[in-house]
């Protein structure tokens, strides 16, 4: 097992290096640069340009910059943001947990919605329940998160004058669990589940439901389930004891693979709900050409993806004895 984990970890390294190269050099070819943005509306003379570049540490050849960046990044030192000159690490410490927690809650919500619907629609394939359940959950998937979020903000204000808490009211879960959960789940109070995690989770539930259903259908056709039926066991017992357990393994693992989707979703949802996470930061940073911030966020996201893949693989291998650590 240990060898397997080690091998999978090693596989992640080239991915991370690839991502870092891609991100670093794509930023360098981005048209428009930070120098003009620092200078604002004014004309940038060559002299100004040289001074600003020296100020920002952008006056070295790109490959040198890359190596010094990646060297520091390996020790989680991401330097200063080019835009507001604050340490990126400090800000990551505050924003990263927010986005991770928001995403985990979204995953949880998607499972809560998707698993029952997936089971029912597989067990009762082509029944009314199947149709309704799938319509609802694919309907959720089909609604763009940015639309759903905007509509929620607009209508809760128009009808009830409700507003979400301000970003300054955000507290990490270890500081104030209640305020934290309220922010992400019930931002309008009143136990109306309409928070950013809910919007993300609802939209993810379609994907999860579809997978749950497919897996369930597949398992229901396996020999041991047929045997269980043949033995005359009750449906409930067959479904829960024999089918569900085996169908859930790939579902739970695949859910782990939704990390990139969730991080991507956070870019838009955080802007709409004003959640101080890395998604909102990323979008403002790329507009401002804040290279160092964009690089750090992209690299950490990739790291999160690689790690979650690893966890998924290990869980999978652990849960399903048929899989060898090959």
């Amino acid at each position: 097992m240990r060898q397997y984990i080690f091998k999978r970890l090693a596989l992640g390294v080239p991915t991370l290096i690839g991502v870092s190269l891609l991100v670093f050099f794509m930023l360098r070819v981005l048209p428009g640069d930070i120098v003009q943005q620092v200078a604002g509306d004014n004309l940038v003379t060559d002299e100004d340009r040289a001074r600003i570049e020296r100020d920002l540490g952008l006056d070295k050849p790109a490959y040198q910059e890359y190596f010094s960046w990646i060297g520091n990044a390996a020790t989680f030192d991401f330097g200063l943001s080019l835009r507001d000159r604050q340490p990126i690490g400090d800000r990551l410490q505050r924003t990263l947990p927010t986005t991770i927690e928001m995403s985990l809650l979204a995953l949880l919500i998607s499972l809560v919605i998707a698993v029952p619907i997936g089971i029912i629609s597989a067990v009762r394939q082509d029944s009314i329940a199947d149709y309704v359940g799938r319509s609802v959950s694919i309907g959720f998937l089909a609604m763009p998160t940015f639309w759903l979020g905007t509509m929620i903000i607009v209508y809760s204000s128009e009808w009830f004058r409700w507003a979400t808490p301000l970003p300054r009211d955000y507290e990490q879960i270890w500081e104030n669990p209640w305020a934290n959960l309220k922010f992400l789940l019930f931002p309008f109070g009143h136990f109306v589940p309409a928070g950013p995690s809910v919007v993300l989770g609802v939209s993810l539930s379609g994907t999860v439901m579809r997978l749950m259903r497919t897996q369930m259908l597949e398992v229901l056709r396996q020999d041991y389930v047929r045997t269980a039926w043949a033995k005359g066991l009750r449906e409930r017992s067959v479904v829960v004891r024999h089918a569900l357990k085996n169908a859930l393994i790939p579902v739970v693992t695949v859910v782990g693979l939704q990390v990139p989707i969730l991080v991507g979703g956070s870019v838009i949802v955080e802007s709409i709900y004003n959640v101080p996470g890395i998604g909102q930061w990323f979008f403002t940073a790329i507009i401002a050409r804040d290279y160092t911030a964009v690089q750090a966020i992209a690299l950490l996201t990739a790291l999160a993806v690689v790690l979650s893949n690893l966890i998924v693989d290990i869980t999978y291998a652990y849960l399903d004895p048929r899989i060898r650590y090959s």
């Binding site: 080239p14 991915t15 991370l16 690839g18 991502v19 891609l22 794509m26 070819v29 981005l30 048209p31 394939q125 082509d126 149709y131 799938r134 319509s135 694919i138 309907g139 998937l141 089909a142 609604m143 763009p144 940015f146 639309w147 905007t150 509509m151 607009v154 209508y155 204000s157 128009e158 379609g206 994907t207 579809r210 997978l211 497919t214 259908l217 597949e218 229901l220 056709r221 790939p250 693992t253 695949v254 693979l257 990139p260 989707i261 991080v263 991507g264 979703g265 870019v267 838009i268 802007s271 990323f282 979008f283 790329i286 992209a298 996201t301 990739a302 993806v305 690689v306 893949n309 998924v312």
Partner: protein, 318 residues
């Protein structure tokens, strides 16, 4: 690794079937009977296709609106933000344009982007997945590591990035081209994984070994044995990915980096900067949102139905 759309096909599909129009009709009828939700999806898709084709006379070389009441950029000063009426079934927007017409024209943009992106994704995924799955060893390793890199970056992030780099100051058509290409390539990464799984499963079949023993070349085996078995997977993936591509275009246009108005992209009609406008005129946000949701729903339902029918393991009920 399994993914949401992992369809490993263990046996050759669609062996001997009647051909021609009769066969298609029979398939469609039976599909509608067995998979009503899939059929609803199919109807939505067909309506969308019709809108895209017949919204104006472009197909026969004209520019005049055909089923749309007006051209998408037909502005009337003084007619801004009108409510629903007979002449404007969905009202008008803040530039005095008929929203209904814009929604109809929007179907064309969504279809063009969706279909082209998915075509790119399917071809690339088919090539990468088959090659990777069939040859294995270092070919597989290299391709899979590259795919890993793409999958490790959130798709919307890649899209924002790619559009800014390549189409930061491009006109609408160039921009559309880049969005199609980038969305296509992003989708192809995930799809190639699924195709690879199917290719591995197929090439481990005894008859492939047999063909190899008989001296068949690699290209012959790939084209005769592997590809036909992988195609159904690609078709199902394509249908579902069409929905994803439409959502991706909507999202990037929402952020102001996609197809700019006056082109009636549904996402751009919901643009983040204009979204406060919806406080005064909420209906203006409802229509494009519903259009996106219906389109994506249609393609997903059609895809699910097709999969139920095409995937042998899911065929039939218990």
């Amino acid at each position: 690794m399994a993914t949401a759309l992992d369809l490993t096909l263990a046996e050759p599909l669609l062996p001997e079937r009647p051909r021609g129009v009769a066969a298609v009709t029979r398939f469609v009828l039976s599909f509608m009977r067995r998979k009503p939700l899939g059929a609803i999806g199919g109807v939505i898709v067909v309506i969308m296709l019709l809108c895209a084709l017949a919204v104006d006379t472009a197909l026969i070389g004209g520019e005049a609106p055909l089923i749309a009441p007006t051209h998408y950029d037909d502005q009337t000063f003084g007619d801004e933000n009108l409510g629903i009426s007979v002449s404007h079934p969905m009202g008008t927007d803040n530039a005095g344009r008929d929203i209904f017409s814009r929604i109809l024209y929007g179907a064309r943009i969504s279809i063009i982007i969706g279909v082209s992106a998915v075509a790119i994704a399917s071809i690339v995924a088919l090539v990468l997945g088959t090659v990777s799955g069939y040859f294995g060893s270092w070919t597989d390793t290299i391709i899979q590591r590259l795919v890993d890199i793409v999958l490790a970056i959130p798709p919307i992030v890649l899209l924002i990035y790619g559009v800014t780099v390549f189409a930061g100051r491009a006109g609408p058509y160039t921009r559309m081209f880049w969005i199609i290409l980038i969305v296509g390539l992003i989708l192809s990464a995930g799809a190639s994984r699924v195709v690879r799984g199917a290719a591995i499963a197929t090439s481990s079949n005894p008859y492939v070994d047999a063909a190899r023993t008989l001296g068949a070349t690699n290209s012959r085996i790939i084209f005769v044995h592997i590809v036909p078995n992988v195609i159904p997977v690609v078709i199902v993936l394509a249908t579902v990915n069409l929905g994803t591509a439409i959502l991706a275009e909507a999202a990037i246009s929402f952020l102001g980096l996609g197809i700019p108005s006056p082109f009636p992209s549904w996402g751009a009609m919901l643009n983040i900067s204009g979204s406060s406008q919806f406080r005064a005129h909420p209906a203006q946000a409802i229509w494009p949102g519903l259009a996106i949701a219906f389109a994506v729903y249609g393609f997903n339902m059609l895809g699910d139905g097709l999969r139920d029918v095409l995937d042998p393991r899911l065929r039939g009920s218990r």
